[in-house]
Symmetry: C2
Subunit: 449 residues, 2 copies
């Protein structure tokens, strides 16, 4: 017995013996790193603390403040201290259902909405309770695949192309099912995210209808991650739930359109016939996070009611993001870098393959090196394509064009009527850092070997 | 293919075919119900909405308001919208470390503290990343075992007895290890909770030292759930981390001593040599809840700094709980019901075994029926012993003596100097409902067959 005691003591005290510690870790967790988007955020803070000028295009955080009526509601409800129902505050579930009715033309019953501490947590619960396989197009958001790995789920990544605007084609989905589910017995959950992270592009109505039809034909459930829905630059978001209501779960939350990422509140809305999935999630929620912070839920009611002040806020936010995103893309394109014009959210997914030879000569052989070297040599933080499930040697990357003072930009935009264009010098004045980063990326990528 | 399509359509549309839906559910989740404490809370609300007078001794929620300085801090920090570091706001981790140094005499480094949306969620992550077996005494808190089941962990329940004040004895732990780990190769996590839920009893210094020594000798890690530590009625909480620092993780949070259950903020504090467990938890956290709500974390700094106003609040809270808990126990004992005098928290664990024959004659054969019938016939909601891992036919139950207006009671207590006793009519005046429930339980239990 004394021998084994010694062994364990070594494990406990020798901090370098990582492999030995792995004996004490769930095999699904070993080697798991902190989510890249959060890691880059910390890394930028550390570099800034060292006095370096950093262009923070890594973390996808809305630069805009939480709308005033929502902040005021949080102040008002600060004393709320009771545990709320696991599924969420009834008034909030009602507001979320009404939000989807009004915004998306989709009928959701308040009883079929669940509130979680971020839609990421809700998706984790869904992946945990669902006993089937997951499908997601690539590039895709950083957390879908790691979640599947933690849980031990099978996840299939369907690659899309830049020339197809990184869109999943219905025939691709059909083909996948023909190959993998010829007897129709497998259970699939397709995760779609539009307007997309990392691509900033969305699906038009036609494509949405075709995808809906394909999913229905193949009995695939859809988790429709529409967290950027209200940030469609033209306010034209179309939910697939409208065309495949019986098989679609809509994901939304406060993080993006409401600027409240740090508040941690996400929502899933289910059709009545998938309520059993919600119930299984709620049972796990009751044994994990219990319920979302009460003051935050009360404040969120104000957000989802989406009154005139918030609607006005949203239109100004869209106007700024659209101008900036398109300008960024225009600059980037001049540098022999492939990018699609954005239609929603605040991301661009760039592809430096046309410069591959040049970059390879500089020792930049994959997307990780691309981003490491860019940060080191210019102070610009972006995330490698590989984090979004692209092939490692594809020279792709995601950038979030959010490194500006959103409160100031918004205040300036508020002084200009919505139907008028923002003045020519608006971006230089309020988003100068981002524009500078775009120019520097082009210069850096095109440097002589 | 059309056959299988039909099968799946049936599953999707027939809401009653629960078994078929189970095909789509993770086997570990099937049959999982919402946590009993949260379920009873909802049930009480529904009964009250039907116009019934309900004595809400089910959910273990602090009846006291969140201290004013903490609520004011939440108001002040309402606009905080940034994603915070996964591990938690650095100022908060510093305050938590200082809290444990001051309160428990334990050295914690701020870098070894992790903040989660409730300590329940943190425990779930710990159970998820730890690749070993879990041990917990019974009666034990409702969530330890279901969490293990969801994750698929092995959990061992060590039964204690009322005559031993529901305390785990060191020799019991030793014997367990001799039987189950004779070669010393197994990895164990012991979950201890004191002052205890559901028992309201704690360990004295001597017992804590002996348990620490036993755990050390057997290489068992301890998760020390000290969420009620500051509610030790005499302010004499002793943490096992003081005597087994290298193997103990301390769990705390705002829910109980700070009256902010609905805010959802828990903390785990690690010794340096178990930091790798924290890191694994943080990696999973970054793929699930991301970080705890920013305004809540900023407000929590104020709580953990535990200034004079909060210390004063705590002494008054303890004074009220001690008086009420002991009075409740005294009444209960008169009714031939076994109960121990409480020393912390706001629970009593009662055992009606002396009335077994009488109760059996009334068709009350187990703790579930006991609580169902009590609620039905008197409106008193308490939770059956079986939910706390007691044998189903043991006529035991947990009650939370919290169904009173804590704000009013506290305001009244504030007018009386701390060193003076509360007046004789204090409980009748401010906790009348709870005292009434105690009397009714005795009457009900001793009814003629």
């Amino acid at each position: 017995m004394s021998n084994s005691l010694n062994t364990i003591s070594t494990i406990l005290t020798d901090e370098k013996s990582t492999d030995k510690k792995d004996l004490y870790l769930n095999p699904n967790i070993i080697g798991l790193k902190e989510s890249p988007t959060l890691r880059i955020n910390q890394h930028c803070k550390e570099l800034a603390a060292q006095g370096r000028h950093v262009y923070k295009l890594g973390l996808g955080q809305s630069p805009f403040p939480v709308p005033e009526p929502v902040v005021n509601a949080l102040r008002l409800y600060a004393p709320q201290k009771d545990y709320l129902p696991v599924q969420g505050l009834p008034e909030l579930r009602k507001a979320v259902a009404e939000f989807h009715r009004k915004k998306d033309g989709v009928d959701i019953m308040p009883g079929n909405v669940i509130i979680g501490p971020g839609s990421k947590e809700l998706l984790f619960l869904l992946q945990m309770v669902f006993d089937g396989e997951v499908i997601t197009p690539s590039p895709s958001w950083v957390s879908y695949v790691p979640q599947a790995k933690i849980i031990g789920n099978t996840i299939h990544v369907l690659h899309t192309t830049s020339s197809a605007q990184w869109r999943l084609k219905p025939e691709q989905l059909d083909e996948f099912c023909r190959k993998n589910n010829s007897n129709g017995n497998k259970k699939y959950l397709l995760i779609l995210n539009y307007p997309g992270n990392p691509d900033g592009i969305t699906y038009g109505r036609e494509s949405i209808m075709e995808l809906a039809e394909t999913a229905r034909r193949n009995n695939i459930f859809i988790l429709s991650d529409e967290i950027y829905g209200q940030l469609h630059h033209a306010g034209n978001h179309v939910s697939i739930a409208k065309y495949y209501p019986e098989g679609t779960i809509i994901s939304s939350g406060l993080s993006k359109w409401c600027g409240a990422g740090g508040w941690r509140l996400g929502t899933f809305s289910f059709p009545p016939n998938l309520r059993w999935l919600l119930e299984a999630m709620a049972a796990v929620a009751s044994e994990t996070y219990t319920s979302v912070s009460a003051p935050i839920q009360y404040a969120a009611v104000q957000a989802f009611l989406c009154g005139a002040e918030i609607e006005n806020y949203l239109w100004h936010v869209r106007k700024i993001l659209s101008l900036l995103g398109n300008e960024f893309a225009a600059i980037i394109k001049q540098g022999n870098i492939v990018v699609n014009d954005p239609t929603g959210g605040f991301y661009l997914f760039i592809d430096l393959t046309p410069l591959k030879k040049k970059l390879n000569n500089r020792g930049i052989l994959n997307s990780t090196l691309l981003c490491d070297r860019l940060l080191e040599e210019t102070g610009i933080a972006i995330l490698p394509g590989v984090d979004f499930n692209r092939p490692p040697d594809e020279l792709s990357a995601r950038l979030s064009y959010v490194d500006f003072d959103g409160a100031k930009a918004l205040a300036a935009s508020y002084t200009i009527p919505l139907h008028e264009k923002l003045p020519e010098n608006f971006l230089a004045q309020y988003c100068g850092n981002v524009i500078e980063a775009a120019i520097k990326i082009v210069e850096w990528a095109n440097r002589p070997d």
